[in-house]
């Protein structure tokens, strides 16, 4: 199959093309291109001159407490401030939690957003807002659907507008589907952008290795029965013949070709094989799921994947998730944060920053770390904190952004922003801007910008 993305990428790297000249010359049809291909071509040209080329989104599902991470209030009453003290970072004037000492030594590499807020304190709806920039189409825990059409998630937009030309999906999600309770949330996928821009899911399970969530062996189809590549290809040919009957063959064609390349090429297998990393590097990230997933994300962006989303957990609850446990700490907030989540976050994200920088990738890779909301500033009766969407914190680093600063501020109890309120849509409008995706590019694919660029970061 013709790999349009590859051809286009090669072409624009040599000589950017003019949409007008191509249309006037009637060249599109001659080279088998559609207008959509041309738009993607232009986007590719944009990204080649943009500061950032890829994104790693660290999705801290469940909602971390901003008062225990990046917005401590040591002067607040004991009912608010919690048991941890702020420590100075390597940027004068910026303090973060004492349980994040490694991140404190790297504050010059990221910006802290202390005035994030969104419209809902429901995991499902706030999750949709965080991942799409819009509440449209979100579903609450109670099953109520918000009006409007569900928007594509950030990774799908990047996949659609910035094809890398690799024989790999441009949007990969490391981790399973996100849930609240037993219900999957909305907003993790491509929506109107089509199947070929859905996230390709993979996961890392300690002690087991790489996994592809949700995919299981069919009856009679075992690994031992597929040792011979010829037999595998025969099986795949059968599948292809069935796919060809589909009315959406073109999209599926691309999707399956990506998958085939992903799962069968030696190069892809090497990308996924964490055993190829030196033991010291693996230890630096941490021998737990989130740490190794961050390492996998680095390997993917190093290969050229445009957008990697690492889900900290699938479940919001700390004690039920199969991974490292979600951040929804209504009870035992401090014990769980201190015993596990704090150092996992501190170690893995610090290692990711170091590794990206050492490889010269941090300048062209944006790293975002945030959850769907924060936690109630007043400690509840169970030594926990409940959902709080009025004010919370996030991190953003790399990609040519202005880092080593704090954007926005909250009031004395971290209850509400008092300066520079920021929405998740604003944050991702800024991320998109660094990638060369602006209003014209979004409107060309039928989307509208949901937020405004945070100028202080650019």
């Amino acid at each position: 199959m013709l790999n349009v993305g590859q051809i286009l990428s090669n072409h624009v790297s040599a000589q950017p093309l003019s949409r007008r000249s191509l249309l006037q010359a009637g060249s599109l049809g001659a080279v088998g291109l559609t207008l959509g291909d041309l738009l993607r071509l232009e986007a590719s040209a944009e990204v080649s001159s943009s500061p950032a080329k890829s994104v790693i989104l660290l999705w801290l599902w469940g909602g971390p407490s901003h008062l225990e991470t990046f917005d401590l209030k040591p002067e607040a009453p004991v009912e608010y401030r919690g048991p941890y003290q702020p420590i100075p970072t390597n940027v004068p004037g910026i303090d973060i939690c004492e349980l994040l000492p490694q991140l404190a030594r790297r504050a010059d590499r990221y910006a802290i957003l202390r005035s994030l807020h969104c419209e809902s304190n429901d995991h499902g709806m706030a999750g949709t807002i965080g991942l799409t920039g819009s509440i449209d189409g979100a579903i609450s825990l109670g099953g109520q659907t918000q009006p409007g059409s569900l928007q594509p998630t950030h990774g799908s937009i990047v996949s659609r507008l910035l094809p890398s030309g690799l024989n790999l999906p441009d949007f990969m999600a490391v981790g399973g589907h996100l849930h609240q309770g037993k219900k999957p949330i909305k907003g993790e996928g491509a929506s109107v952008l089509g199947a070929s821009h859905e996230p390709f899911r993979l996961d890392y399970v300690p002690g087991e290795g790489l996994r592809f969530p949700g995919l299981e062996l069919n009856d009679g189809l075992t690994p031992s029965g597929l040792d011979a590549r010829r037999e595998l290809l025969s099986q795949l040919d059968n599948v292809r013949r069935q796919i060809d009957r589909s009315v959406e063959t073109s999209q599926l064609d691309e999707y399956y070709q990506q998958a085939f390349s992903l799962l069968t090429s030696q190069a892809s297998k090497e990308v996924f094989d964490l055993d190829r990393e030196p033991e010291e590097v693996r230890r630096r990230y941490g021998r737990y799921r989130f740490g190794q997933c961050c390492l996998l994300a680095r390997r993917l962006v190093e290969t050229g994947v445009r957008f990697v989303q690492v889900n900290w957990s699938s479940h919001v609850e700390p004690v039920e998730d199969r991974g490292d446990g979600g951040w929804d700490m209504h009870d035992r907030n401090f014990q769980q944060f201190q015993d596990r989540h704090s150092w996992m976050l501190d170690q893995a994200v610090s290692a990711l920053f170091d590794d990206l920088e050492d490889r010269g990738l941090l300048d062209e890779t944006i790293v975002v770390a945030l959850g769907e909301f924060g936690r109630t500033p007043k400690i509840n009766g169970k030594a926990g904190r409940d959902h709080w969407h009025h004010c919370y914190s996030g991190l953003v680093a790399g990609g040519g952004l202005r880092v080593g600063q704090v954007i926005g501020s909250s009031d004395r109890h971290a209850e509400y922003p008092i300066h520079r309120p920021i929405t998740p849509a604003d944050l991702f409008a800024t991320v998109f801007g660094q990638l060369g995706i602006g209003t014209p590019e979004l409107t060309d694919i039928g989307l509208l910008p949901a937020g405004e660029v945070i100028e202080e970061l650019t």
Partner: protein
């Protein structure tokens, strides 16, 4: 696309991926290497996160909580054989087991999954027959009773509870009766440890700022601040002779195991490196056990104490 076709496509897609995945062999992490410090013995090697190892009075067994996949279960580790077995057959999370002075029973904290998560209760488990009886339960509300510690005579135990809408220290008889509230401060009071002499309960509290170790006199009800450091001090554990307290501290920028002399307050570091060392506990023969990631994963270690303060 019709619904039927969508279903067919989904099935086809699954089969396609199944075939592709079947041809891959992608493996995960290798096990960590053992520490080479002769004073340090590594007991487990699986690397899964673990909490609160506690030695049996005869030193032959260690009970601890292990996080693996979506489970948090208590395990018994046999020191002579190196074999492990589950402490219970429960399927909900369980933590914080501690042997009774006789070694015949354990107190443990049992959790629930949603929608009852956070409703943690303390049970008394009889090792001989596996029977369990609740001894610290709050009816009618979500409350967590946890981190039990035995009085040296085995007649009572202390624990923490949020039954009065803040985490406080309580004492109860071994059958759960005659509950006495020890603390009542807006701060968090956590992780009690009853001294071998029976007179003192050490615990961590943030009433003076960040977490510090406090000592509570069971007879006089006097409470005093024992540690004062920049950084948190947590998880106190009395030595078998009651003269020292091991605890976790991040005063050097990372989680280390410290030992303080109860009389003088002088403190020495048992560990002092970049690894994360936590949940100190004493063995009956006076060594210090803890959980550490010094070899990559999180495993149980026991260490000779070279110098006491």
């Amino acid at each position: 696309m019709s619904e039927e076709l969508l279903i067919a496509s989904g099935r086809t897609k699954r089969r396609f991926f199944t075939a592709l995945i079947s041809c891959l062999v992608l493996t995960g992490a290798s096990h960590a290497t053992a520490a080479d410090d002769p004073a340090v013995e590594q007991l487990t090697h699986d690397g899964h996160f673990k909490q609160r190892p506690v030695w049996s009075p005869d030193g032959k067994q260690v009970v601890f909580a292990r996080h693996e996949g979506s489970t948090i279960y208590l395990w018994l580790f046999d020191r002579s054989t190196g074999e492990e077995r589950r402490l219970t057959e429960r399927t909900d999370p369980e933590y914080d087991a501690v042997f009774s002075p006789s070694g015949e029973e354990l107190l443990l904290a049992v959790d629930k999954t949603s929608p009852g998560q956070g409703d943690i209760e303390i049970y008394l488990l009889n090792l001989a027959d596996g029977s369990m009886q609740p001894v610290a339960v709050t009816d009618g509300k979500l409350s967590h009773e946890e981190w039990p510690t035995w009085a040296p005579d085995g007649a009572r135990f202390a624990f923490t509870s949020t039954r009065h809408d803040n985490q406080e220290i309580y004492i109860a008889d071994r059958d759960g009766k005659n509950v006495e509230r020890v603390t009542g401060d807006p701060a968090l009071d956590v992780h009690p440890c009853w001294s071998p002499g029976g007179r003192t309960i050490a615990f961590a509290t943030n009433r003076w700022g960040d977490l510090e170790i406090a000592l509570y006199d069971v007879v006089t009800h006097n409470l005093r601040q024992f540690t004062e450091s920049h950084g948190l001090d947590d998880y106190p554990s009395f030595s078998p002779d009651g003269r020292h307290i091991a605890f976790t501290s991040n005063r050097h920028g990372h989680f280390d195991i410290m030992i303080a002399d109860v009389s003088s307050g002088r403190t020495v570091a048992v560990t002092n490196d970049a690894s994360l060392d936590n949940f100190p506990t004493w063995t009956p023969d006076g060594r210090v056990g803890y959980v550490s990631n010094r070899d990559g994963g999180f495993d149980l270690y026991v260490q000779d104490v070279q110098t006491l303060p």
